[in-house]
């Protein structure tokens, strides 16, 4: 196992007698860009949550960005409070310079941190959640459908900002999405999930060219709506 890589073995999840995630092992190298794709209900989010919880329990630095900011922010608490709370949870001292730097990088209005999420645009709320996730310079950042609650223009901008923030770091990402088109442009390796199993694990280009399982070929066949004339 290479230095700094993350490894989980035999991860599985059951809820009320039903197996949501069959035993799964996963190794993620430092700085790797990994995609997890599959139809809805295939167990993608379950794997994302289990992965984060397990690695956290191992003492690794991991962060999770859910689909909607509503699933990440308390509507009754100010952004500044939630920022400070996240710092405290990570054992960090308040650091104004770091806040400035992260907020500038993700285009978050620093002068509005005293407000509550309500009144912020959804896009800026989601960028704030990403900023919170990056606070502890995580080894792995799990992004669960990070843009599907946003308008396309905002979504594209958010992904671009995220790419630029992560460009030189050591943070690995796991991008969870039902949309192979979205994943194909930003990850090096793809995991395909079906019925609680990872059925395919391959380099992005290889998977797009030669999907081996029905689940993967369904995804590649429906990869995007239209191929543009050049």
């Amino acid at each position: 196992m290479s230095r700094g890589s993350l490894l989980v073995t035999d991860l599985s999840v059951q809820r009320s007698g039903r197996v949501l995630l069959h035993p799964t092992s996963l190794q993620i190298s430092r700085g790797e860009r990994l995609g997890l794709v599959g139809a809805s209900g295939s167990g993608k989010s379950t794997l994302g949550h289990a992965l984060v919880d397990t690695l956290r329990a191992q003492g690794r630095r991991v962060a999770h960005v859910p689909q909607s900011p509503d699933e990440a922010l308390d509507p009754l608490r100010s952004m500044a409070f939630q920022w400070r709370e996240a710092e405290r949870a990570l054992g960090l001292a308040p650091d104004y310079a770091r806040q400035q730097q992260l907020c500038t990088a993700l285009r978050i209005a620093v002068d509005q941190l005293g407000q509550r999420p309500w009144g912020w645009s959804r896009g800026m709320q989601q960028r704030f959640v990403i900023a919170l996730a990056l606070l502890g310079t995580p080894e792995l950042l799990v992004l669960d459908e990070p843009t599907s609650a946003l308008d396309p223009v905002i979504a594209a901008r958010t992904m671009k900002l995220l790419d630029s923030v992560l460009a030189h770091g050591q943070t690995a990402i796991l991008l969870i999405t039902h949309d192979l088109g979205l994943a194909a442009r930003r990850v090096d390796r793809l995991l395909v999930m079906h019925d609680g199993h990872i059925v395919e694990d391959a380099a992005t280009a290889a998977l797009l060219a030669h999907p081996r399982t029905p689940a993967a070929s369904a995804l590649t066949r429906h990869r995007s709506w239209l191929t543009l004339p050049c």
Binding site: P152, A155, G181, T227
Partner: protein
């Protein structure tokens, strides 16, 4: 043909729709794209006659739109279904309301086309998947054979594979039955693949109205170009070929 002429809708002092003019010929598809709050849903409400117009006129073949009994397909169909009724009961509601006999095989035929089994129609809304519910919503809309069907974000609750499957089903049924479709969507990829015209809405105004093939090649407006670039960045449109 659906004609929307210089329509303005006011919400308080805000113009939710501002001087909108569109033409949708019978059997064709017009996609309305734009960000949340641009007035897409307001346009649907205006066409259905659910809100008053401050100015302008909306008609189907010269008569008020209501006369042609247009149908609506919504974003989250399960929320629109009565949880106490079976899918079959909900689906047949418009037929009962129209008081016109349904051709004997129409229900069976549409169910078959939409891949809905008789057993599934007996279930309640919470016992079926979102994709099945959306197809049941389409079934309900098409039973009375309306000449105009409005789709409000018909795919956005579905996953990528189901989206494309459902979009193809809608297109096939449209080819068979010849209804005009006005599709509101935030997904430019869907609009690009399945419409004859695209109307880009921004802050209640039409930023661009164009034939789809031309818009996809080269949008004429700045905002149209921004939308196209975003769709490419998100993989909804693929320019790698």
């Amino acid at each position: 043909m659906l004609s929307v002429d210089q329509v303005t809708v006011k919400r308080g002092r805000v113009r939710a729709l501002d001087d909108i003019s569109l033409r949708l010929p019978a059997g064709q598809t017009l996609a309305v794209v734009g960000e949340s709050g641009a007035g897409k849903s307001t346009l649907i409400a205006a066409v259905l006659g659910l809100i008053g117009l401050a100015n302008g006129r909306i008609s189907w073949d010269g008569a008020p739109v209501a006369h042609c009994r247009p149908a609506l397909v919504m974003q989250e169909p399960r929320a629109a279904f009565n949880p106490r009724l079976s899918i079959r009961q909900t689906v047949l509601e418009p037929v009962v309301a129209a008081r016109q006999p349904l051709p004997a095989d129409r229900l069976d035929y549409l169910c078959d086309r939409l891949e809905l089994s008789t057993e599934l129609l007996a279930r309640r809304p919470h016992e079926i998947s979102i994709g099945q519910a959306q197809r049941a919503g389409i079934l309900r809309a098409l039973l009375n054979a309306p000449p105009l069907v409005l789709f409000d974000e018909p795919l956005s609750a579905l996953d990528a594979v189901t989206q494309k499957h459902t979009a193809q089903l809608i297109a096939d049924l449209q080819a068979e039955h010849g209804f005009a479709a006005l599709i509101v969507t935030h997904d430019l990829g869907y609009a690009a693949a399945y419409s004859e015209q695209i109307a880009v809405l921004r802050a209640g105004r039409i930023a661009e109205l164009a034939v789809t093939a031309r818009f996809v090649r080269a949008p004429a407006s700045d905002y149209g170009r921004t939308l196209r670039a975003a769709a490419v960045a998100l993989g909804a449109l693929d320019d790698s070929a």
